[in-house]
């Protein structure tokens, strides 16, 4: 699988502060990668370097083989910033039309209509941005990022202002994009969201990747819980493969078994373990 985003040994210093300390990260074709970490871990800096807003101090970042920040790299990506604003006097349709011109997209009215439908804003095409809720603006931001059919989508907290229905809309959209081969780097604090949609997850702490892998790889066995007539007992260190034997042993010992449950850590457990409870 070719990498659409390839980052290696990436460093960024702001004066004496090292925001990134040699980060390696890859996003393959059609892959959805989640970026997790506490505030100040360097997630937004990493994304900003990838889109060319921030210059790296050292290391390499490439988008579809082109140096991050170069015109060729920018032509391949769509980006939604964590803190963004569109001019309040533009309508949703005008925002997309402006970005079509800047992205060199020839999609015209059809592309704009399709994108607004994708983010459930088809009825708000003529509504001005300053008349939209924060959630609507965020969905418009996602639509803007998709102008010109980018190969790589970088979304920095795309659902922070969305209600549950809006989040679901974006989640379904991301899954649909993956089916169409679009690669996505998703920076979010919503662990459940990341767990649901991402193929791989990278956890950043103080500018370093401290854990990476698929959500299932990051989830470790935490034992087997057995409920018998003696009560609930947790057999630590046991896994899914041990469950039948544990039930058989209990029955052989004359116990009545009411239930058995294989315990695995959630992404949240893994995250909390990785960041050590750090919040900023």
């Amino acid at each position: 699988m070719a990498n659409v985003l390839a980052v290696s040994g990436l460093e960024k210093r702001y004066g004496s502060v090292r925001a990134l300390k040699g980060v390696d990260l890859e996003v393959g074709e059609g892959e959805l990668v989640g970026l997790l970490g506490p505030n100040g871990a360097g997630k937004s800096t990493l994304v900003k370097i990838a889109v060319g807003l921030v210059r790296p101090s050292a290391g390499r970042a490439e988008v579809a083989g082109a140096r991050a920040g170069s015109r060729r790299a920018r032509a391949q990506l769509g980006y939604l910033a964590e803190l963004f604003r569109f001019p309040g006097w533009y309508s949703a349709d005008e925002v997309l039309a402006l970005h079509q011109r800047l992205a060199g997209s020839h999609g015209g009215r059809d592309e704009r209509r399709r994108l607004l439908e994708l983010v459930a804003l088809a009825d708000a095409a003529d509504r001005r941005v300053d008349g939209m809720s924060k959630g609507m603006q965020q969905r418009l931001g996602v639509a803007q990022a998709l102008v010109g059919s980018p190969r790589l989508l970088l979304l920095d907290e795309p659902t922070s202002a969305l209600d549950p229905v809006g989040r679901r809309t974006v989640r379904l959209l991301l899954e649909r994009l993956r089916e169409h081969g679009v690669s996505v780097l998703l920076n979010s604090h919503l662990l459940s969201e990341i767990e649901l949609v991402c193929d791989r997850v990278a956890i950043l702490l103080a500018g370093e990747v401290v854990a990476a892998g698929s959500p299932s790889e990051l989830s470790r066995p935490r034992g087997v819980e057995l409920e018998t007539d003696e009560g609930v007992r947790t057999i630590e260190g046991a896994g899914r493969d041990d469950a039948p034997r544990l039930v058989a042993d209990a029955v052989a010992a004359g116990r009545r078994v009411f239930g058995v449950r294989v315990l695995t850590s959630t992404l949240e457990d893994t995250y909390l373990e990785a960041v050590g409870g750090e919040t900023s």
């Binding site: 900003k48 889109v51 060319g52 807003l53 921030v54 210059r55 015109r71 920018r74 032509a75 990506l77 980006y79 910033a81 803190l83 963004f84 604003r85 569109f86 001019p87 309040g88 006097w89 533009y90 402006l98 970005h99 011109r101 800047l102 992205a103 060199g104 931001g141 803007q144």
Partner: protein, 285 residues
């Protein structure tokens, strides 16, 4: 070109929305009405003014050149107000508000974005300056039946001065917040005007030090030198006591003038734009 037009139109709509044009049009209307009143009364009273018989002053030329000089000052000031408010937050201001980032990551690039904003602001400011200057000439021509010997070049030099201020404002917007940039550009503008007046005083007093300081300021701030050169051109044919009196006044004109300062002003403009582009390219957003 499609991108350049789109970004220039974006800046234009932003200015419309922020009522920049409304403020400038209102101020301009007030100025032109006052200027018409001044012309009306000055030229009406002109026939009653009797200079001493041995003083050969062309009162109509003196009044006309003085009033056009005043109009040029007001046009420069209003043009600078427009220029500064069109450009003071193009980089830092828009970045702080989150408006810039979605545009910068597009393939169009930072250089095109900045140049487009410059071209958009310069086009608006040049049209504005020429229109107000032209209106002032028409008012003085109608009310006083006087037109300066050179009409086109002073207008172009005024417009050129405002374009240089736009470039400086864009350069400032890369490093400074909107408020700080606005203050800095207006202070530069004020410093230039003071230096120009000092030059006039220096020549009247024949003070080498003041003349030298004024000359340095004219080269350091060529927008002021262009304005002064424009003033010089509107009264360039005046000799004798009329020319002497005009030279003594605040609108007497430049002592640093000619093609050298014009070429330097063009080079200065290019230099300011190149510095702004280089600084913008290196700026983390």
């Amino acid at each position: 070109m499609r991108s350049v037009a789109a970004i220039a139109a974006y800046g234009f709509r932003e200015a419309l929305r922020r009522k920049v044009f409304a403020v400038v049009v209102l101020l301009t209307a007030i100025f032109l009405v006052l200027f018409w009143l001044a012309n009306h009364y000055v030229f009406r009273e002109l026939s009653g003014i009797q200079p001493p018989a041995d003083v050969n002053v062309d009162t109509r030329t003196f009044a006309g050149a003085f009033l056009i000089g005043l109009a040029m000052f007001a046009t420069l000031f209003l043009g600078v107000v427009l220029a500064v408010f069109l450009t003071l937050g193009v980089v830092s201001g828009d970045a702080e508000r989150g408006l810039l980032q979605p545009l910068v990551v597009r393939p169009v690039g930072r250089g095109t974005l900045l140049l487009s904003r410059f071209l958009g602001a310069a086009a608006v400011a040049v049209v504005y300056v020429l229109a107000v200057y032209g209106a002032a000439l028409a008012i003085t021509g109608t009310a006083g039946d006087w037109t300066p010997p050179s009409r086109v070049a002073p207008g172009l030099e005024l417009a050129g001065g405002v374009v240089i201020v736009i470039a400086l404002s864009l350069l400032g917007s890369v490093a400074l917040s909107s408020t700080a940039n606005g203050i800095a550009v207006f202070m530069l503008f004020g410093a230039g005007l003071v230096a120009g007046l000092l030059g006039t005083i220096g020549h009247a007093l024949n003070s080498h030090t003041i003349k030298h300081a004024s000359t340095i300021a004219a080269w350091a701030l060529p927008f002021e030198a262009l304005y002064q050169d424009g003033l010089r051109l509107i009264s360039r044919d005046q000799t004798g006591i009329t020319g002497f009196l005009l030279q003594l006044g605040p609108f007497g004109g430049a002592y640093v003038h000619g093609w050298q300062i014009r070429v330097w002003a063009a080079a200065y403009l290019v230099l300011a734009l190149v510095l702004a582009l280089l600084a913008f390219r290196r700026r983390d957003l």
